[in-house]
Symmetry: C2
């Protein structure tokens, strides 16, 4: 199958591109290098050194014998997006090409506007390109479990059967997300569902949990193939950050009371979920939603798991919550669709964490400990400059 | 009360500005003249000749003795938006300043992107300005009944109590709108509800029905004070278009089977609803939603009412539906909140229609009949150029 991976140079995009290529698909990668640019802006970087996209693709060819086509450019440039899709002729498009950090979107007005413009308009351009070029192209779009927020009812997979005053309808699950980033994904979902209705588009919206881990079978093949590993408080995901704090002998910073519960997924399951979604396309006109997460833990539970696994002493530091979020809440979500397609989840295990500790130890001299502390407060309209001690 | 009307030069913005001024409020108008520019782009115009904003304000001063401040500029220019709000020091901001035509947003990719960018980012800029300057400013935001789509359950006012698997939550009403324009308003609503949560903003989201009529007490005072009256298939609203077709001796064009039902409101009720919302602000942190509509009719019923009222023969022409929408559906909506605040609705009556016929007759030589025919098809990704025979 010909699969175009938008944002294929990122934390998950790159492992996904290799995985799909390794599974025999013909893969192209479109990326504007925005994620690398955020590093320059924030003065931070991947814990693990990463190669340029060009070197990655070259190394992958040496090792696997397989070719990945590169399309460097920006989805906001509609002509480029159209030309890439016309040129590559994908059967599926996997769309990771969005600004993906909640704290980044909360820095100030400009970052909120950038995030919503980049994500929503980029996705509109992809929708229109598919609508114009070939409506059978299956769009596999990365959303987030954070779109749902923390409702007091169980979270279904995108749709909800609602009975009200004696009448019933299947409705989009009501969402109440917690950042301008998460909101951008909610906007995308609404736009895409409309595209399915008016143009018969085939869309799979993957509401992904917080991803942890850094290695997949493919990234482990050669050090030129590794993916980025973000540890800073803006782009680093929570479990990865806790593991780094443990290795560095720092207390794990838990925001607020730590009872906030989040859905999570192992990076190796992410790439497999994408494959499963691509290989079983949504029907014409179908807006299909999968909850791409396998477990959930409270932040305090995550910290405890890391502490129990780490071979040494680790403390927990409960710090003022920089976010505005409900800390005590119900959390239960359905995640049967991908398992129904064949996903065999990797659950959070000692093995995974132990391998993470090893990766971190190897590169710990690259850590700027100040970057681990949150500097962006949801209550403020402006958090610039992002200063660190 | 100091009230800033964003988009105060438009079809509803201008009558609202005068009405609030006449009721003793201190009114300012911000407008970028985008609505006048769309006329130039589409080669159409208001059936009734309108004055410049400057002449309108001058005439209003002569007639009422009251001053309305003018802030010409664009909400996408954040510095201008901030400076205006700092300068005028409003207690309430009424936000009409969005591209408001579904067909315009469906012309092609550029118009969809323009509509969502203009509306969503403009509103984000207003939110951030309020968040930074004075969080007590009450934002009265125009949404649309079209945000809801046509669910098979009754439409509540913005929120819905959902019981699912034995648990209950008060959730945002699930929305499934029918154009990129309507989607932009759904995006706004989600962004604004978040602003209420994180910054304690006071927001009233008015989901307005399709407005009909052209005269308010104030616009009737002097011909320099009239508001625009759009009859073209892009910006003209359905009842107004039917009335024009009747006067011109043309068949009324009903899209599809005509069983599509829509919520409507008289222009005189619109301005009163805005006053009521402003004078009873939402609480700090409250995202308050009112359904600003008083009745609903199917398109065929609207055509029948016009035909029965018009003193002459009028035919109905059922034409291929250029929109993608469900034609046979349940439609029942709650609209008690504004009536609870004191709204005494003007229901669709012979009197209103008869006065509309008079206005149309006076200006009928200005009509380009070709502009009444729909030229924008929802099924196409591109409808440019908008050609007319």
């Amino acid at each position: 199958m010909r699969i175009l991976v938008l944002g294929g140079d990122g934390y998950l995009g790159w492992p996904t591109a290799m995985y799909l290529s390794g599974q025999g698909h013909d893969v192209g990668v479109l990326d504007n290098a925005a994620r690398r640019q955020y590093d320059h802006e924030l003065g931070t970087g991947s814990l693990v050194p990463i190669e340029t996209l060009q070197n990655r693709v070259q190394a992958w060819r040496e090792i696997s014998g397989k070719t990945i086509a590169i399309y460097p450019g920006d989805l906001l440039d509609a002509e480029f997006a159209y030309a890439t899709i016309r040129g590559f002729e994908p059967e599926a498009i996997v769309h990771f090409a969005e600004q993906r950090a909640a704290p980044y979107s909360m820095i100030d007005r400009k970052h909120a506007v950038y995030t919503q413009t980049n994500n929503v308009i980029g996705t509109l351009n992809v929708m229109f390109a598919i609508g114009e070029i070939n409506r059978d192209i299956h769009l596999v779009k990365l959303g987030t479990m954070g779109e749902y927020g923390t409702p007091n009812i169980d979270i279904e997979e995108g749709w909800l059967e609602v009975t009200h005053k004696g009448r019933t309808d299947r409705m989009l699950f009501p969402k109440r997300p917690g950042s301008f980033y998460h909101l951008s994904k909610v906007h995308d979902s609404h736009n895409l569902e409309f595209g399915c209705r008016i143009w018969g588009l085939r869309v799979t919206d993957l509401n992904q949990g917080i991803v942890y881990g850094q290695e997949t079978t493919e990234t482990a093949l050669d050090e030129r193939l590794v993916t980025r590993f973000d540890y800073d408080a803006v782009f680093g995901t929570v479990l990865n950050r806790f593991a780094i704090q443990a290795v560095l002998g720092l207390p794990m910073s838990v925001y607020g009371g730590g009872t906030q519960t989040r859905a999570v997924i192992d990076i190796r399951d992410t790439v497999e979920c994408i494959r499963l979604a691509c290989e079983t396309p949504a029907g014409a006109g179908e807006f299909r939603v999968f909850n791409q997460a396998t477990e959930s833990f409270s932040l305090a539970e995550m910290a405890k798991i890391v502490a129990n696994t780490f071979p040494g002493q680790v403390d927990v530091d409960f710090i003022d919550n920089p976010r505005v979020e409900v800390e005590n809440h119900h959390y239960s979500f359905v995640h049967t669709a991908l398992e129904g397609l064949g996903l065999k989840p990797h659950l959070l295990s000692d093995t995974l964490l132990t391998s993470l500790f090893g990766i971190i130890e190897k590169h710990q001299e690259r850590v700027d400990p100040a970057a681990l502390q949150p500097s962006i407060n949801w209550r403020q309209t402006s958090n610039l400059p992002v200063t660190r001690s």
